[in-house]
């Protein structure tokens, strides 16, 4: 027994010796784990989305490394700070921000996080996110001569338009993204269709492509209920935008937004009877989307739409500028391809359309926000400083152009030449509304579900519109109550 006790005591001692080491190991988080014996006193964890070092976009080509290189350069300049790049687990079917919210609750979120700023806004009142407003008004020390950080960004209106409903900016727009229709020139030539000038032509050529045995257009489930809806909505409602756009945004943002309907305006208009089953324009929008759906891939949930296009089964793919990297590097792409933007709707398609140029639905690509972890860990100054460092033109250009999927949003940072078509598209007016940015994740989820049900033939237009209307009313009521909005001024402006 004595011998057994001695062994137990030895084991216990061993455990006691190991635990502090393990703790030390665990404390040094992220992928670059070390024993923490360096001279750095500040450690900034960064999740940089698709720029994450080691990530291979589309699984083709070399892994991205430039963010790590820039991080190392920062560490060389600031020996008291270490930059650690975190990876986010990719989880299918999750709402954006789910991972980071879980990390925030656990107190282990990275200091800097890539997240669409619209996903940040609902949690601002929890104190999880830091307003960048005061820092934006200060110069960027890494941009000689800059008076404010604001002025160093290329697309001023877009960057400023990312302010939240409370008027504060919670993310910097590091780069720009835009969508386009990628098309297979060989198939177009074989079938005898050309780039359409109008929506009617667009539908007609898809009909021809389908008859020829091709999938005319590849579409994703999420894009159908987001991009497609935004585009068609804009085409039908732009003619009456003056009736709907009650509140103009700040002048500096209007240059980009040009009549964008903010959530408060949406709520007001919902309460005035717009976007209801009785709104013929709204009904027309859903009818046109269902009509368009017959030319998409059968299974919208399926994620191999890119494969369908790359292997020549599909003639077109509507996707973001990020897809151009795949098209340029995929050795199996053995056809000529090009990009064009969606054509305008004319009266030939709908009595509500006027032929106005189709608006864009893209905008900011990588949006970087600062979490409360920076404050909790006493790394706030270093965190902001690192953000400023990466938005210096030379650094931004290197990081963005290594991936070759986006356009740098910093003055002086050159764009990769192959992205020029997208830079032209993004000059257009921004779409009238982004429903998916307006009411939060629960609204988006229900919207997508009912829309998918409608598109899949599970319910007819009338039932869909009734469900959708009930949901819009509930969402508007919730938001009006939560924000305490009063529409007296809106009534005056609308002349009611």
């Amino acid at each position: 027994m004595r011998r057994f006790n001695n062994i137990s005591a030895a084991l216990l001692l061993l455990v006691l010796l190991i635990v502090p080491k393990v703790q030390n190991y665990v404390r040094v988080r992220g992928e670059e784990t070390t024993w923490g014996t360096g001279q750095a006193t500040h450690e900034i964890e960064v999740f940089t989305g698709f720029y994450t070092p080691g990530f291979v976009p589309h699984g083709i080509g070399d892994p991205l490394e430039m963010f790590r290189v820039v991080g190392k350069e920062y560490e060389a300049l600031h020996p008291d700070t270490r930059i650690v790049f975190r990876k986010q687990p990719a989880v299918a079917g999750t709402v954006e921000g789910e991972w980071v919210r879980t990390q925030l609750v656990g107190g282990v979120a990275p200091e800097i996080v890539s997240i669409n700023t619209e996903s940040v806004w609902p949690d601002v009142d929890k104190g999880w996110w830091l307003s960048l407003e005061p820092y934006m008004a200060e110069p960027n020390p890494y941009v000689p001569g800059s008076k404010t950080w604001w002025e160093t960004f290329a697309n001023q209106a877009l960057t400023r338009a990312k302010r939240g409903p409370d008027g504060n900016l919670y993310s910097i727009s590091f780069d720009l993204v835009e969508t386009a229709v990628y098309y297979n020139k060989d198939i177009f030539g074989e079938v005898g269709v050309t780039i359409p000038e109008t929506w009617a032509e667009f539908i007609e050529m898809q009909k021809t492509l389908k008859a020829a045995g091709y999938i005319p257009l590849c579409m994703a489930d999420a894009n159908a209920s987001d991009w497609a809806q935004d585009i068609v909505f804009d085409q039908l409602y732009y003619p009456i935008l003056k009736e709907l756009d009650i509140e103009r945004g700040p002048e500096e943002e209007e240059e980009y937004l040009r009549g964008y309907l903010f959530p408060k305006e949406l709520c007001y208009n919902i309460k005035r009877g717009y976007f209801s089953p009785e709104d013929e324009r709204y009904r027309e929008m859903w009818r046109l989307l269902k009509e368009w759906r017959q030319y998409w891939n059968l299974d919208l949930v399926n994620t191999d739409r890119i494969r369908l296009f790359v292997t020549g089964r599909a003639a077109m793919l509507w996707d973001g500028s990020y897809f151009i990297r795949r098209m340029r590097n995929d050795p199996y792409v053995d056809f000529e391809w090009g990009v064009f933007y969606l054509p305008p709707m004319t009266e030939e398609t709908s009595p509500f359309a006027t032929g106005v140029e189709a608006a864009v639905i893209g905008g900011a690509g990588l949006q970087l926000s600062v979490t409360k972890r920076a404050i909790d860990d006493g790394d706030l100054d270093q965190t902001i400083d690192f953000l400023r460092f990466i938005t210096a033109p030379h650094n931004c250009e290197r990081i963005v152009n290594e991936a070759g999927m986006f356009i740098p949003n910093v003055k002086g940072a050159k764009m990769a030449p192959h992205l020029k078509p997208f830079a032209e598209i993004i000059k257009r007016r921004y779409c009238t509304v982004k429903w998916m940015f307006s009411f939060g994740p629960e609204f988006n989820d229900y919207m997508r579900r009912t829309f998918a049900l409608y598109l899949g033939g599970g319910i007819e237009l009338d039932s869909f519109m009734r469900l959708h209307h009930e949901h819009l009313q509930e969402s508007a009521d919730y938001l009006i109550g939560k924000e305490g909005w009063d529409f007296t001024e809106f009534d005056k402006a609308a002349g009611q």
Partner: protein, 315 residues
Amino acid sequence: MSPTSGRASERLGLAERMWKNRLLYLCLVPTFTLLLIFNYYPALSAFQKAFYRYDVGTKAEFIGLSHLLRLVRDPVIWKSAGNLLKLGLFGLAAGLIPPLIAAELIFHLRSERWRYYSRVIFVIPMVVPGVAISLIWRFMYGDAGPVSAFLELIGAESLIRGWLSDPHTVLYAIMFVGFPFITGLNLLIYYSGLANIPDSILDAAKIDGAGILSTIFRVHLPFLMSPARILSIMTVIAVVQGFERILIITGAGEGTGGGPGYASMVPGLYMYYQAFSFKRMGYACAIGLAMFVVLLVITMLQMKYMRSETEYVPE
């Protein structure tokens, strides 16, 4: 000696025995501690949270039975419960019958070597992770997947559809995942049940002139009721708790797992969305609590009614 004093002496005896074996009990402490911390505490905490409005990142507020009342009125819960019932019934049939047939076929092979190889062949797929299987089936249902390609090959193009985008087919598509449903573990459990039937009984059946079918139905099946009961309990628990497959197969888009609409939604997945996507942790806990109660009742019913009339206990 009075009954009370008898129990007291029994307790004393137990305490003495425990003291004598204190080192062994001490060795069990870490296991039980970990079990309490990582299994029981979260579960009990979740039961408690079911009675609180608990939005992640905010202070929990006690709201009594509100969540449970809301649960009863929530149409999505009833829709997903209906889906679960269909999946559960199909899962029971698929989990019990095909492995039984396969086990019988293997059991009747004359060569011991082939019996062994056959078992190995069915067991090897067990090492494939469930996530990989789900991803493979998602590919199978795609526009360029084998299911549509096969229909095209046999000239049945009119049947081709978006299997996972069509609310009329999505649930059946999910049911079909895992075809031909011969799970290695289930097969092994049945096979071990068959192997445990005493030769004397099988010989007696032969002498009485029982054919293969008669032997299976009158001898094998009564002996396999115990394994079948275990398998049915395991299947029901797996079906009620499992939602990962549906999330992976139907949730490629953001937040539409269990769709289109709620055509393939199940309570477990709905709980997951409430907790992690919509930050309604309290309501998610209430769904979890309801699932636990339902599962407990079903398991008790299974234990009570799926009793084997003939249970062989080796001497």
